[in-house]
Amino acid sequence: MAAAAPSQEELRGLYRELILDHARNPRNFGKLAEPSHLAEGINPLCGDKLKVYLQLKEDGQIADASFEGSGCAISVASASLLTEAVIGMTKDDAVGFFSAVINSLTGTEGVKNFDLGKLAALQGVREFPARVKCATLAWHALNAAIHDDQQTATTE
């Protein structure tokens, strides 16, 4: 009963080189010295826990962003990519980007005319329904942070 060779193609769609790179070497990892906004995201199912820190300028531009916490490759890579993507955005753009990313990962509606950039690499999770929450965790935390929602964001 030898196992057939695992079809690694589909898995490669999930664990792309970019994802693995960000999981191994997360960018903007750690606390911000003086965050103006922060929120924690918890996935109660698996215990993943991430904190997203933002430094907003008075005009609403995100001057800096970082995260810390632990989780699987997907949730860490997603958080890492998030911080890269939102630095320099206005707060309103970031909220719009949050919606676009969530839609693109959950497949609730097509994302048109929206350049997800590197974030498109996360779309592999669409083939793995059990892992979508891993990819969206940091984004829910980002949204909560921007809205100054004191409550911990969860994926539930």
């Binding site: 009963m1 030898a2 196992a3 057939a4 695992p6 079809s7 690694q8 589909e10 898995l11 490669r12 999930l14 664990y15 693995l20 199912l45 698996c46 215990g47 993943d48 632990s70 989780g71 699987c72 490759a73 997907i74 793995f128 059990a130 892992r131 891993c134």
Partner: protein, 417 residues
């Protein structure tokens, strides 16, 4: 024991460690691979005997129990109570009135916490548990402590995942109202020396509850021999349906306890002046019970008795030993839970691959394992890890399953290399 040897050998030969054919769910392809099910500690698959018993009841015999004079009600009652008799013999209870059907282990423990402990607990009293308990043997005690001002003491575990016996025994004194311990750890597989601990606790008049959810499917359990006061277990971890479980309680203990929930079936007479409660075990079975669940559980007991729990224990030990040695050959492997006495479960970490990533990669190869904290977060904190991957065995697993597990782990290492 020597007289049993030929029987064990014969059964091994007759079914070379493989009862897969009895379990239809195991015969399927997952992501293009034949299913390797290594998650029985979370929930086991059901044999045809159980599926048929439930279906036959639903098709032919369904009615409410303990109520009607009509034929179907009689049949349903016979089947439901017949299941109780099967469970009684399975765990060797003294009388059928000691077998209370519950929703599962969790409800059984809550029942004891609320009905046996809560009425008598006061500030200064203590409840003792261990660090390796499942949340269902932690939270009910935390709740009853909050409600009464009693204190919860937790005996620690060592690096191998074994409880520190001396420390636990040192906690036992006249302030302790109950000792509540797992028989087998769901996250680590450690077997606790429950018999010795019951004896020690009883020498100080301390009652003992054993969470047997992870023991009953894997080894012979004799509650009379253990002499425990309460023993809780679940149907769906022993090849029965979900939503049914058992609280065994010594008759005198159960007699002394007030009903936990009120409703139909648990009464003899109801008026607005007062209500007389039914006798055991019905006093603790308010409302229409899970009749089909109990019947399925009865069928599971019959199935297990047909093989013999000693045979099953022997088979699983052999597969567990093989799994442990094969996992140890995988580079980057760290086994979590290496107690000297173990059953059916192996938790592990591979390199720095997060357990959820492992779970996804293994599932992609048809191998089902559990990943995460296993409802035992304190255990994970003890080892300073967020979770583990866990392969857990049942009577239907064989060496091929372990080989597939190891192959898929090596494939995971390639993806993450």
């Amino acid at each position: 024991m020597s007289e049993q040897e030929p029987r064990i050998a014969e059964l091994h030969a007759a079914q070379p460690g493989d009862r897969r054919a009895d379990f239809p769910a195991l015969d399927q392809q997952i992501n293009g691979h034949s299913l390797v099910y290594l998650d029985s500690a979370a929930s086991s698959q059901a044999p045809t005997a159980v599926i048929d018993a439930v279906a036959s009841y639903q098709q032919n015999d369904h009615a409410n129990v303990h109520r009607g004079v009509h034929t179907l009600s009689h049949r349903a009652t016979e089947a439901y109570e017949g299941a109780r008799d099967l469970v009684k013999s399975f765990v060797n209870a003294s009388t059928r009135s000691e077998v209370v059907f519950t929703r599962g282990t969790t409800e059984a423990i809550n029942l004891v916490a609320q009905s046996f402990c809560r009425p008598v607990l006061k500030p200064g009293d203590r409840i003792v548990i261990t660090h390796l308990e499942h949340h269902s043997n932690i939270v009910p005690w935390q709740q009853v402590c909050e409600q009464t001002g009693a204190e919860l003491l937790v005996a620690s575990i060592d690096e191998k995942g074994q409880i520190n016996i001396a420390e636990l025994i040192g906690m036992l004194d006249e302030r302790v109202r109950i000792l509540a311990i797992a028989h087998v750890s769901n996250a680590l597989g450690s077997i606790l020396p429950v018999r010795e601990l019951v004896e020690k606790a009883h020498s100080l008049d301390i009652p003992v509850l054993i969470d047997g959810a992870q023991a009953v499917p894997h080894m012979p359990v004799d509650v009379l021999d253990l002499d425990c006061d309460f023993y809780a277990f679940s149907g769906h971890k022993m090849f029965g349906p979900t939503g049914i479980g058992v609280l065994y309680g010594k008759e005198a203990r159960l007699e002394s306890m007030p009903p936990w929930q009120g409703g139909g079936d648990m009464i003899l007479e109801v008026s607005f002046d007062g209500t007389t409660y039914n006798e055991l075990p019905y006093k603790f079975e308010a409302g229409t019970p899970n009749i089909s669940g109990a019947i399925g559980l009865g069928a599971a007991v019959r199935y297990l008795q047909g093989i013999g729990m000693d045979v099953i224990a022997r088979h699983e030990q052999e597969i567990l030993d093989y799994m442990t040695s094969e996992l140890n050959k995988v580079d980057g492997m760290r086994l979590i839970g290496t107690a000297d006495e173990k059953a059916s479960v192996q938790s592990f970490l591979l390199d720095d691959i997060h357990p959820h990533d492992l779970g996804t990669i293994l599932d992609h190869q048809g191998v089902a394992i559990r990943t995460g904290h296993h409802c035992a977060m304190p255990v994970m904190n003890r080892f300073g890890i967020p979770g583990t991957a866990r392969a857990s065995l049942a009577l239907y697993n064989n060496r091929d399953d372990i080989d597939r597990l190891v192959e898929s782990l090596n494939a995971a290492r390639k993806i993450f290399s």
